[in-house]
């Protein structure tokens, strides 16, 4: 016999789908099937069942091989590493629960670490822009029920947030949007023709890296000002005017934006301009803006760091109080300056997703990687601690991209004797307290 669990939360992207149906074996030890999830979400659930999964910590040896060690040894190693370091970097936090993040913050405060999440290479510049100019936002429920004008700027949800369009932004029929996609107009801004832009009413194929110029031109066009030049940032002037009119004619519009604007030149200034465009459009109709957050709980990490220290990422506690200046205290700049003397990674994979110069620095530091998977990071860190999958084998609080908290659920038992990341961090925290007291 099998058991079917409904309304399961998907721990992959910031859309945090909450309608998955998971089938598990009667004793709750095997996960057999996942329904309603996108291809990536389903793969995430099923990978927890891999036969070649690592279930005990491994220590990297001189010759490049890995030797299995006990969880107790791993706790001791991690506690010593963090307690002895002058300026340890504690990076990641986006693929775990708020409960674990909270314990991580406690450790960071005890050891005087720099604590940073994946916003550092994702929506960090968005957070800077929000601090600059504020953000008029809404929830995804409002988008589903009210929005009839959608912009995807520098993002490709067809690939990165596969169910976003069907659950919230384009196709669903909501309270005031009974005709579904028929009465929604979609503008996609992307230097490439993408699977998302193929659905668009207007595709603005912006010149790569010229988003700021196009955003400001659109702001001027919305206000009815004259634009000079026939082509603006690679887009014909007529199309800019057409887009401005389309946006103003809606009842409720939303701008979703992604890495295309946060990582291209201009960075936080691009987001400043996008938020100001939203503000301008509110003179004519109702408009909101939402960041397409990547990891399922990167938003939660920002929330936890926010209420602990007052800043959403790149928090430097090494002087005994919280400092924040992403261009200086962010992980990338810190590693480039070779300033950290130890690193702990949890719930992220900088080995795969940091520029190579920073990865090389990680590989040469005393290091711990806490991650359920074997990853490029786990393979260059001195110690790899596998833990239970949050959202699959242990529950916990997560925040959706629109800052709505949702409790993820445990659906299957982790392999026998395996720790969760929260348990591991609590043990490390207790040990650090002992070391500091001695």
């Amino acid at each position: 016999m099998t058991k079917t669990i409904s309304d399961v939360i998907c721990p992959f992207c910031g859309t945090l789908c909450d309608d998955l149906v998971v089938t598990v074996s009667d004793d709750g030890t095997k996960l057999l099937d996942v329904e309603n999830a996108c291809a990536i979400g389903a793969e995430k659930f099923l990978h927890s069942q891999a036969s070649d999964r690592v279930t005990r910590p491994r220590m990297l040896q001189e010759d490049g091989s890995a030797v299995e060690v006990s969880y107790d040894e791993a706790i001791e190693y991690t506690a010593q590493l963090l307690a002895k370091a002058k300026k340890p970097l504690m990076y990641g936090w986006s693929s775990t629960s708020c409960e674990a993040q909270s314990v991580g913050s406690e450790i960071a405060e005890q050891v005087g670490a720099i604590i940073d999440n994946t916003a550092a290479v994702c929506h960090g510049t968005t957070l800077v822009a929000v601090q600059n100019v504020g953000i008029p936002s809404c929830t995804l429920g409002e988008v589903k029920n009210r929005a009839d004008r959608i912009i995807f700027w520098g993002c490709n949800p067809a690939h990165a947030h596969p169910r976003h369009m069907s659950r919230y932004s384009i196709f669903p029929r909501g309270y005031f949007t009974g005709k579904g996609h028929k009465n929604r107009k979609l503008i996609v801004v992307d230097p490439r023709t993408t699977d998302t832009s193929s659905l668009a009413d207007i595709h603005l194929q912006v010149e790569q890296g010229a988003d700021y110029e196009l955003l400001q031109a659109l702001r001027a066009a919305v206000r009815g000002q004259e634009l000079t030049g026939d082509i603006i940032a690679g887009v014909p002037k007529a199309k800019v005017y057409e887009s401005a009119e389309l946006l103003k004619s809606g009842r409720f519009g939303v701008i979703f934006f992604g890495m295309g604007v946060t990582q291209s030149l201009g960075k936080d200034h691009n987001i400043d301009a996008a938020i100001m465009l939203t503000k301008d459009l509110n003179e004519y109709t109702k408009f909101s803006i939402i960041a397409m957050r990547g990891h399922y709980n990167v938003t939660g990490s920002g929330q936890v760091l926010g209420w602990q220290f007052g800043f959403p990422y790149s928090v430097d506690l090494s002087r005994g109080f919280a400092r924040y200046n992403p261009g200086e205290t962010g992980s990338i700049e810190l590693l480039k300056r070779k300033e950290a003397d130890a690193i702990m990674v949890l719930g992220s994979d900088p080995g795969a997703h940091f520029p190579i110069r920073c990865v090389r620095e990680i590989a040469n530091l005393p290091s711990v990687c806490i991650d359920p998977h074997i990853t490029p990071t786990s393979e260059i860190c001195k110690l790899h601690v596998p833990v239970a999958f949050v959202g699959v084998e242990v529950g916990g609080n997560c925040y959706r991209m629109d800052n709505v908290p949702i409790d993820s659920r445990k659906v299957v038992e982790p392999p026998e004797g395996m720790m969760t990341d929260e348990e591991f961090l609590r043990a490390v925290n207790t040990r650090i307290t002992e070391i500091k007291a001695a």
């Binding site: 793969e43 800077v128 023709t193 992403p326 261009g327 700049e333 110069r357 590989a363």
Partner: protein, 134 residues
């Protein structure tokens, strides 16, 4: 056959996402991310057949990937490597004091490398970090 200069961007693809969740050490991940998507026009300029290995070089590093026809295009003059260790060997780490590397918009040169192989994930990491033999 000659080298071409092109603007490189990186980002998510659904194949990259699925392969990543299935295990980054597996060959599926190499096949999903150890590629560069290029436009037909750029293939003609480079003078190689589709599915040929090429060497991508920037001011930050150099990596061998397989050149494939753009799955989402056209976008002449822009090349795309899915996010991952292959892309990150060549992307710009310049943050302009924002803390955010410039993952999109790195000038690179591409030259044919039919005799070189696309390294598997872990080998690439070890080679990049510690110079271990290919």
């Amino acid at each position: 056959m000659s080298a071409i200069s092109i603007n490189l961007i990186s980002g998510r693809t659904i194949q990259q996402g699925v392969a990543m969740e299935g295990g980054k050490e597996k060959d599926k991940y190499r096949k999903a991310c150890g590629i560069i998507e290029m436009d037909n026009e750029d293939f003609k300029k480079l003078g190689v057949m589709k599915n040929t290995n090429v060497e991508v070089t920037s001011a930050y590093g150099s990596v061998v990937v397989k050149a494939i026809e753009a799955t989402q295009g056209p976008h002449p003059g822009v090349a795309f490597i899915p996010m991952g260790p292959w892309a990150n060997t060549v992307v710009s780490d310049e943050t302009y004091s924002t803390g955010m590397p410039t993952f999109k918009g790195t000038p690179v040169t591409i030259e044919p490398a039919p005799d070189k192989q696309v390294l598997p994930t872990i080998k690439l990491m070890r080679y990049n970090c510690w110079g271990e033999e290919q």
